[in-house]
């Protein structure tokens, strides 16, 4: 029981990270119908930017825990957002109106470019960092087993919820969010209403990248080790999460992320750690076969 509770805590905090990345997949898919396979690497870039800003802060020796984390987070979001904007501008926009596969292939190319860029510029070895937020809250004790809700997990869950709340308000309540939804539903009509659709698409990439940067920063804080390759696996898992939740659905992406995080964690805890990725990807296969629209995907009938 205590063991399961611990897994639940671990699974939720991991799932939050997947969910944040999955939102970026699903947003871009919603607005231009493309799976941005470079998105996982944007997450990786976010983690690296966070690490670099942390090292700079430590070199300066000015800041302590919470303030340092906040600075890392904001710097990472800003710089990674710039990456997202550039990627769309350079790699995807010139291909708009091209055949459907073209941007997809470019995305894979961009993913390779980002990985190699970071590998060359930062080195291939894993980068460890000291734990910024040690300790945690002891939830319960069952014999020798202590259920711990670590401060880094609390931070992940707290920040993710806060970011998602802001993001939800942005999408549902603001003119930008309306413009994004309009572009998603009928881009040509959105343009006919005076919306600069290119700009809206750019901002979608920017927001997706900023959310991935939050995930990257959280990943760094929680696991303490990153390398140039973390984006691949995290990206594919977040993609699985987006498909499971129903690609194009924002709440679905978060739900899918949580489920993938939980499935992976529980599988590792009760069956085998080695096969945890197999478990996560089996979910992708099963979803595609039996529930192609995902859990919260669109099934409503629309009048034309």
């Amino acid at each position: 029981m205590a063991y399961a509770l611990q897994q639940l805590i671990n699974g939720i905090s991991l799932g939050m990270i997947y969910g944040l990345i999955a939102v970026g997949y699903t947003m871009v898919y919603g607005i231009i119908g493309m799976i941005n396979f470079a998105h996982g690497d944007v997450f990786m870039v976010g983690a690296f930017v966070a690490l670099i800003s942390l090292l700079l802060l430590q070199a300066g020796g000015v800041l302590d825990g919470p303030a340092a984390i906040l600075v890392m987070l904001l710097v990472s979001m800003a710089i990674t957002a710039l990456y997202g904007w550039t990627a769309e501008r350079v790699a995807y926009r010139p291909l708009r109106g091209s055949f459907r596969l073209a941007p997809l292939i470019t995305a894979i190319g961009l993913s390779i470019v980002l990985q190699n860029f970071v590998q060359v510029s930062q080195g291939a070895r894993p980068k460890p960092t000291e734990t910024l937020l040690p300790g945690g809250w002891e939830v319960m004790r069952d014999g020798a087993f202590v259920v711990q809700f670590s401060y880094s997990q609390m931070l992940i869950i707290g920040i993710t919820l806060a970011v998602l709340a802001v993001f939800t308000v942005l999408v549902t309540r603001t003119p930008l969010g309306r413009a994004m939804r309009a572009c998603e539903q009928d881009r040509k009509m959105a343009a006919l209403l005076g919306i600069d659709t290119d700009r809206t698409i750019s901002l979608t990439f920017v927001i997706g990248a900023a959310l991935a940067a939050v995930a990257g920063t959280m990943y760094l804080l929680r696991y303490g080790v990153i390398d140039f390759y973390i984006g691949f696996l995290a990206g594919v898992k977040a993609f699985t999460a987006a498909v499971l939740g129903g690609i194009g659905s924002l709440p679905g992406a978060v739900l899918g992320g949580l489920l993938i995080g939980l499935i992976e964690t529980f599988w590792s805890a009760y069956f085998s750690v080695q096969y945890k990725d197999v478990a996560a990807f089996s979910v992708l296969v099963l979803t595609l076969i039996f529930l192609p629209t995902g859990l919260l995907g669109r099934q409503e009938v629309e009048k034309v």
């Binding site: 939804r181 309009a182 343009a191 006919l192 209403l193 005076g194 629309e302 009048k303 034309v304």
Partner: protein
Amino acid sequence: MTASDDRSGAGRGGLNRPHQATAPLLEVDGLSAAYGAVQALTDVSLQVMPGEIVTLIGANGAGKSTLLMTLCGEPKPRAGRVVLAGEDITGAPTHAIMRRGVAQSPEGRRVFPRMTVRENLLMGAEALTRGDPTPQLERVFVLFPRLKERLAQRGGTLSGGEQQMLAIGRALMSRPRLLLLDEPSLGLAPLVVKQIFEAIRALNAETGLTVLLVEQNAFQALRLAHRGYVLVNGRITMAGTGQELLARPEIRAAYLGGH
């Protein structure tokens, strides 16, 4: 009795008199456009004066919708000029054109299916750079009270007639100088068509809104419009006042089913 006398309540003068003195709101000169390799419009020239209802009639595939879309910047014209209120807008991006006071209720209505009626209408006010959309919302409700009852309903769940009202209402939200209407009568019950044409007439009469109306329903459109153009295979073949065109035997034979 001329067509304009029917609308004398609007306080405007005769058909051509006031218009000749002023500059056209929309001037299309030698416009050609194509979709890929398919030539859709050839050397189209037309004018719309401020306060006029001008209709464009023609068979399916004659290029009517393409013309409206080309005026809105997509597809880009291959040749010719589009001038809006003295300003050359040829080749400008769609969103920039729409922000200069053009609004379109397009073919197929294109209501946002997963937005509520209210959100759809607010999207229409997007081109209003500033100001509160509420007064305009109220005006749209006066015109189409039905929309007010459906405010919280999703666009995709409305009936065809309601969607058409929503598409027109949405176009009006930006308080356009020029309203482009593409087949507002398509697929609607006669009673609804009458209601919508009545709304267009009222808008024009009360606010002086300029309308360019594309219609297959030539009889109704010509009765409503001050002037009309006939489009055949992407070219303008005839022009005249609504009454004149209605009286032409070839128009009666080709577009009015002989009555």
